[in-house]
């Protein structure tokens, strides 16, 4: 066997071993609110919607890094969410929220929020159709 083959094998084996060791730590799962509540304190991704029946609490003058809202998922699970950052401007009109964080008792401590909003889909045919009807009413 050539030296270069040995080097190749060693490098690849080391890389694979490294990935396997760290993989379990780096990877997390998408959860529902119900299953998240079973995984207290574990970092997970939550897919839910804004609970529009409850108020959003945010006052940047008092504390720009404190946002509280309620989320509800497709299985009917509900949770309070605390996010220590500014309120994402499109939160109210979001269709779906992907939240990364941990469940802490009945509160979801959120570290990052990704919003799926109609604005991101202005090329979406359904939105275009709505927009056309809206133009008609002007």
């Amino acid at each position: 066997m050539k030296k270069i083959h040995i080097v190749t094998l060693v490098i690849i084996a080391a890389a694979i071993a490294y990935m396997l060791i760290t993989l379990s730590k780096d990877l997390t799962t998408y959860d529902t609110i119900a299953s998240a509540k079973q995984k207290q304190g574990k970092f997970i991704h939550l897919i839910a919607q804004l609970d529009r029946s409850k108020d959003i609490e945010y006052n940047p003058v008092v504390d720009p890094n404190f946002l509280v809202f309620y989320a509800v998922d497709s299985l009917g699970g509900k949770t309070k969410v605390v996010y220590h950052n500014t309120k994402p401007p499109e939160l109210e009109m979001s269709e779906r929220i992907v939240m990364k964080g941990k469940m802490n008792g009945d509160v979801f401590e959120c570290k990052e929020i990704l919003l799926k909003c109609p604005s991101k889909y202005k090329d979406d045919p359904l939105q275009q159709k709505k927009a056309l009807e809206y133009k008609m009413q002007d």
């Binding site: 690849i12 780096d26 890094n65 220590h84 202005k122 809206y134």
Partner: protein, 818 residues
């Protein structure tokens, strides 16, 4: 129904051009294929002539497509979906080009256009390789034009045309019951995404797509080598094209990073977002392939690996389009483009499997004939370490691809895995190790000779650069204040080691330009590129490890439960609210929200934020500058709701940037004033308290027409001169007043913005009272984030130098091959 005012000819002509270019690329592919297969020279020339003519026709058709689409956008023909969706009348002309490539069809058009230009280059340059290479390029061209052809094949829609009409796309919309719909309803378009209204976005896509398009050329050469059974002869001819591709992809990625830095608000130039990763991976593989090609040209080693690298670079480039444009990334990417749905998904899978199938079949059929040297490389040879470097690049590409492809893996295996708490660290901790190895290899390998290097010769040459690099990097480590301890001492150690390795690469390659290439620039392309690569890595290491959030909130609220990955409490409070007129400490600076401005032709609102840094001892102003981060309330959905979109602004110094962007602002429409006035009877000299301080009444002036002739407009007036003393030590003057005319009271209220106070004067039964309202509605404020980035310019400089190195080498090799 006859619709009024439509411009149908230009769209029909455009669509005809699309069809023409599709047919022409079919004919060109077939003709080039025949020209390659035939052994009779006359026949070869006949087929080649036909192929060239059709390819030139195709090029003209593609230019016509561009002209048609641009004039549709430029003339605001909103009957076309493309203009309606991507432009609007108020858009400045310079951004009309960005409208062209905002849509998916436009980006495919760029890709097609560059294929045409590169194809013409190969006609001029390719000689005996022209026919087989152009067959592959032309085949790719068939696929690319099929993306914009927009034809129905029975029920299956193939591609989507940029020339479709609004009324054909939405035939049932009631708007189109009116023959005057264009004049009445579609008077304006939806406009261009504000984030794309940036000068980088005018040039980033064309350059990036030159990189995308050029990746097919080295692959086409490699495949031509297999096809014509000239298993290594293609490498020399393909080298300049590989260099071009690496340079164009590199600059394209850099411009994207510059755009992200200047107009996105994730606070940096790189976030390991799938969209970014997808274009980085092909670049890494292209550079690896470039190195194995050089090895092969000089020594005959690495013949098979060159095929694989170029094939993988090309395949992963199409895969990157697949990742970013089919919506398969779903929830993982903030700015993945919108999905075209299933048709594009299968379309791209067909493209990838076609090329993979053809290549793998031909490769394994001919594998035994590819010449391989069985003697082992000497460990002191240049080719040995170059190959190791190529392998390291491959591993980094594999690592990035794996994590980027998680959503695809989830789809295939039905899992629901995602990258955990700290995605950037998942990448960075491996990339810092890769940087160490690559830095060292970049430094030492140029000093090795091909085949075998005498030890004494190598040590003599490398000694000086090693010592210089050691001194410089120790100085950086000691005096550079690099204490990035978020992930513990191991990671910090790796950063310092990487700084040494990359400084080593910079120094060694600078020295080599004189000692190795004897200062001849035409021969020093490699060294210049490596030098730039080293500078780029140094810039990345320093700017990322010394990036500092200066808008740390000092309100003192600790968040229970939030820990960083090492278990320490996370100080994640990175937003500060600035109230208009109130200086607020931020890092070394006092930041003040001074005001805002907007312009009727520009939808953005510019916020004026003044930064001042004073010497603590003497109070002398050391720095004073004003930043104008802007924010923009854009129409977000059909119901007319708005959403905020912010663009940062930076103060550039040679050694650092101060970077600021708005994270929240009050929506003027939504503010409702719910507070009420509270009245206090007052006399001159009285003091009244409110929640954040107190107000002294300096003077109360009463006047009426009888006593004062200066009151021509009103009958009588009561004026209070007051001073507001805020708890923050600031004082403000205010003059609320009450007038009376024909027995009707007119209140002249005064506001103290910084204290969110509204003051008024009341008069009841001869007693004067001061009304105080504490209201959020009067207060103007913005919430922002601010960073300090040191040495980011070094990073840009590095990438530019690296690309310059690629171009020097490319020029040199083109000249040599002529």
């Amino acid at each position: 129904m006859v619709y009024q005012g439509e411009h149908l000819f230009i769209g029909q002509f455009g669509h005809f051009s699309v069809l023409l270019s599709f047919v022409a690329s079919l004919v060109a592919t077939f003709a080039y294929f025949k020209a390659t297969q035939t052994t009779v020279p006359e026949e070869h020339n006949r087929w080649k002539k036909l192929a060239r003519i059709t390819f030139i026709i195709e090029t003209l058709a593609v230019i016509a497509i561009f002209v048609c689409l641009y004039s549709i956008i430029y003339n605001h023909y909103f009957e076309y979906e493309y203009a309606h969706q991507h432009s609007k009348r108020s858009l400045p002309t310079k951004y009309l080009l960005s409208c062209l490539w905002e849509g998916q069809e436009g980006s495919f058009m760029l890709w097609i256009f560059w294929h045409c230009i590169l194809g013409l280059g190969i006609m001029l340059q390719g000689k005996k390789w022209e026919a087989p290479v152009m067959t592959t390029i032309s085949l790719m061209q068939i696929f690319l034009t099929s993306f914009i052809i927009g034809l129905y094949f029975f029920d299956l829609k193939i591609g989507s045309s940029p020339f479709v009409l609004m009324r054909d796309e939405f035939p049932n919309a009631p708007v189109f019951q009116d023959p005057l719909y264009l004049q009445k309803y579609l008077r304006d378009g939806n406009g261009l995404n504000v984030l794309l209204q940036n000068y980088w976005m005018v040039i980033h896509p064309p350059i990036l797509f030159l990189g995308f398009a050029s990746a097919v050329v080295p692959f086409a050469f490699a495949f031509a080598g297999l096809w014509k059974k000239d298993y290594t002869g293609w490498i020399k001819a393909a080298l300049p094209w590989t260099l071009l591709s690496a340079a164009a992809l590199g600059i394209g990625i850099m411009l994207g990073a510059a755009w992200a830095y200047e107009s996105l608000t994730f606070g940096g130039y790189w976030a390991w977002d799938p969209v970014e990763n997808a274009s980085l991976v092909p670049w890494l593989l292209m550079v690896a392939g470039l190195h194995t090609m050089l090895i092969n040209k000089s020594t005959g080693y690495s013949s098979r690996s060159s095929y694989w690298f170029l094939f993988l670079a090309f395949l992963l480039l199409i895969y990157s389009t697949f990742l970013t444009r089919t919506g398969v990334l779903g929830d993982t990417s903030v700015h993945s483009f919108t999905g075209e749905g299933n048709s594009l998904f299968w379309h791209l899978i067909i493209v990838m499997s076609t090329f993979a199938g053809i290549f793998l079949f031909t490769y394994f059929k001919n594998r035994k004939q590819i010449p391989v040297i069985h003697r082992e490389e000497d460990i002191s040879s240049r080719e040995f370490w170059m190959f190791v470097g190529a392998l390291v690049l491959l591993i980094s590409a594999a690592y990035i691809s794996f994590f980027t492809s998680l959503p695809v893996i989830n789809d295939i295996f039905g899992t629901n895995k995602a990258i955990g708490e700290d995605p950037e660290y998942v990448y960075n901790r491996v990339m810092v190790l890769i940087a160490i190895v690559l830095g060292l290899l970049t430094a030492i390998t140029q000093y090795l000779k091909y085949k075998k290097t005498p030890r004494s010769f190598w040590i003599k040459k490398i000694l000086a650069p090693t010592i210089i690099a050691l001194i410089i990097s120790v100085l950086i480590s000691v005096f550079g204040n690099i204490h990035y301890n978020k992930y513990g001492i191991g990671y910090l150690g790796a950063i310092h080691l990487a700084i040494f390795a990359c400084t080593y690469a910079v120094v060694a390659n600078t020295v080599y330009i004189w000692t190795g290439a004897k200062g001849k620039l035409s021969l020093a392309g490699g060294s210049v590129a490596h030098l730039g690569f080293g500078i780029m890595l140094v810039g990345i290491l320093i700017s990322s490890s010394k990036k500092e959030v200066i808008s740390i909130n000092r309100t003192g609220i600790m968040i229970p439960g939030l820990k960083d990955p090492k278990g320490r409490d996370d100080s994640g409070l990175e937003n500060v609210t600035l109230i208009m007129g109130v200086p607020t400490p931020m890092g070394n600076y006092m930041a003040t929200y001074v005001g805002d401005s907007s312009h009727p032709a520009d939808e953005k609102m510019y916020f004026k934020v003044n930064y001042e840094r004073k010497d603590e001892a003497t109070g002398k102003v050391l720095e004073n500058f004003t930043l104008y981060p802007n924010a923009f309330l854009m129409k977000a959905d059909a119901e007319g709701r708005t959403s905020l979109s912010a663009n940062p602004d930076s103060r550039h110094y040679w050694h650092k940037d101060v970077f600021t962007f708005i994270t929240s602002m009050p929506d003027p429409e939504s503010i409702k004033d719910t507070a009420n006035f509270v009245s206090y009877p007052v006399q001159t000299g009285d003091t009244v308290f409110y929640s954040n301080g107190y107000i002294t009444v300096d003077q109360i002036i009463e006047a009426n027409k009888g006593t004062n002739k200066d009151l021509p407009l009103v009958d009588s007036a009561w004026l209070a001169e007051v001073t507001v003393h805020g708890n923050n030590g600031m004082t403000y003057k205010a003059q609320p007043a009450l007038f009376s005319k024909a027995n009707a009271p007119i209140a002249k209220r005064d506001t103290v913005m910084a204290q969110s106070l509204v003051l008024e004067v009341n008069k009841e039964n001869n007693a004067i009272s001061l009304g105080i309202k504490e209201s959020n509605a009067v207060m103007k404020y913005i919430t922002l984030k601010a960073f300090q980035f040191p040495l980011i310019n070094i990073l840009w400089l590095g990438i530019l130098l690296m690309s310059a190195g690629f171009f020097i080498s490319m020029w040199h090799r083109f000249k040599k091959s002529n």
